[in-house]
């Protein structure tokens, strides 16, 4: 447990030392969401109906942006190899790596989302639903992303490939997240989609670290 905490703190400290890496996904999120009103139409009703989907897609792409470098440095400086040959189960370490990624790349998006949602004239219920679905959904995206990042860690020029691998797998989260947000805006009950998102998170947290660990072992070979 001490190792896990030390590793998590180290990841966070490293991430926040390179401040640009933390801020750039947030900037990306804000800029991409502001492109749509300019490109499509600034009309309130159009933006209200597009908002949930646009915000969710932008959040997904922003998370993808930070995935590429997830394991690269750990592999280059040899610390991943140390973790892999150590006595602790690599899958558990992978779970914490995903947690670290989510704290750096996912949680800030959840915090920024309400601000952007207001520019899309989303009603209060939808803003709350957006935050809630992002809060439950983005950890699943981090876990899925960790598998993709682990598998492509040994490949140069892997960012396009990473998107191709990870995006189809992310679709269920995206669909339920944006749909629940839209439904909440119409004043409907969203407990169903929320529970499904939570179920996906539970499944992802229990299985995907194993796949990520297998991927890391292959990449370290």
């Amino acid at each position: 447990m001490r190792l896990l905490r030390a590793m998590l703190l180290r990841d966070l400290r490293l991430a926040f030392r390179r401040w640009g890496d933390v801020v750039s996904p947030l900037m990306f999120f804000a800029i991409v969401t502001s492109l749509f009103p300019l490109a499509l139409s600034p009309r309130h009703d159009v933006l209200q109906s597009l908002g949930p989907g646009v915000l969710w897609i932008a959040a997904l792409l922003a998370m993808l942006l930070s995935l590429n470098a997830l394991f690269r440095q750990d592999i280059e400086d040899g610390s991943m190899e140390q973790l892999a040959i150590g006595p602790h189960p690599l899958a558990l370490l992978m779970l914490y790596k995903s947690l670290g990624h989510w704290l750096v790349a996912g949680l800030p998006l959840v915090a920024l989302a309400p601000l952007l949602a207001v520019t899309y004239y989303l009603p209060g219920d939808a803003v709350a639903a957006l935050c809630l679905t992002l809060l439950i959904g983005t950890p699943t995206l981090s876990l899925l992303g960790s598998v993709g990042a682990a598998l492509t860690a040994g490949i140069r020029q892997s960012s396009g490939l990473l998107a191709l691998l990870v995006l189809p797998l992310c679709l269920p989260v995206l669909m339920f997240g944006s749909r629940a947000t839209a439904l909440a805006g119409q004043g409907e009950d969203i407990s169903g989609p929320l529970l499904l998102l939570a179920a996906m998170l539970a499944l992802a947290a229990s299985l995907l670290p194993l796949a990520a660990a297998a991927g890391i072992r292959i990449s370290l070979d």
């Binding site: 490949i155 892997s158 191709l164 691998l165 189809p168 797998l169 269920p172 169903g192 297998a214 292959i218």
Partner: protein
């Protein structure tokens, strides 16, 4: 209780044995499948009566349904082979997974194209974000991801194992994606074109379909064997048996 498998079954995991086995079996599968395809096409195009609603337009199901069925079946075959290769470290299983992926992608593409051609006269549109179409499209993307990951590695063994992990993640995800698409569209507001309500199909229409499904499956098996042979030759090109095979006892190149 101990279950003993016959020796020839174990031998199949060895590339030279598999190569000879595939060379013997492949042509048989191919000819039988072509014969069945002719029978099925004849039954489907001439013997089956026109549909009372769709006229002759429905006859595309004799291509569409077998392709759609194979598109998911091949993914299962690929994932099973990948799992066998990953768990028991059988190189031949990786070769099977590698050979199956492009075939699966083509059948998925064929199912999408025939579906679009069928959709135009029946639904009035080539594309509809209907659950089945959507999950078929995502399946195509999964095949693309698998093949791209495989080709991104220079090292054969790493390509095999990494893509095997991806295939397994994908196979767990496929049902999730499929059912999410269905549930998502059930809470989807707005007009949804109801799918072709399947009327109880008459025997005249049904038997050619079943024959076609069998024919396509055998065709897939024949193509798979052929592709695995090529894959094995490529992977084992430095092995002595391949050198001998290529030289041939009579000095001819086969």
């Amino acid at each position: 209780m101990r279950i003993t498998l016959p020796t020839w079954f174990h031998k199949l995991a060895s590339p030279p044995h598999f190569y000879r086995f595939a060379r013997l079996l492949g042509p048989w599968l191919l000819w039988v499948s072509l014969l069945l395809m002719l029978i099925g096409a004849w039954g489907g195009l001439f013997l089956a009566p026109p549909d009372y609603q769709q006229g002759d337009g429905f006859r595309i199901i004799y291509v569409h349904v077998p392709s759609a069925y194979l598109s998911t079946m091949i993914y299962a075959v690929m994932a099973t082979a990948a799992a066998i290769g990953l768990i028991w470290r059988i190189k031949l299983a990786h070769a099977v997974a590698a050979a199956a992926a492009p075939v699966g992608a083509w059948f998925t593409f064929l199912a999408l194209v025939t579906g679009a051609l069928w959709g135009k006269p029946m639904w009035g549109t080539y594309w509809e974000w209907d659950p089945r179409l959507t999950s078929e499209l995502i399946l195509l993307f999964l095949y693309f991801g698998y093949m791209s990951l495989r080709s991104a590695f220079d090292d054969q063994s790493r390509a095999d194992r990494a893509s095997a992990v991806l295939a397994l993640v994908g196979v767990v995800n496929l049902p999730i994606i499929h059912y999410s698409v269905i549930w998502w569209s059930s809470i989807h507001q707005g007009p949804t074109i109801s799918k072709l309500d399947a009327p109880s199909i008459t025997t005249d229409m049904l038997w050619p379909l079943l024959v076609m499904i069998l024919a396509y499956t055998l065709f897939f098996a024949a193509v798979l064997l052929q592709r695995v042979r090529a894959e094995v030759l490529d992977r084992e090109r430095h092995a002595r048996w391949v050198q001998e095979l290529l030289a041939g006892p009579e000095g001819e190149v086969r």
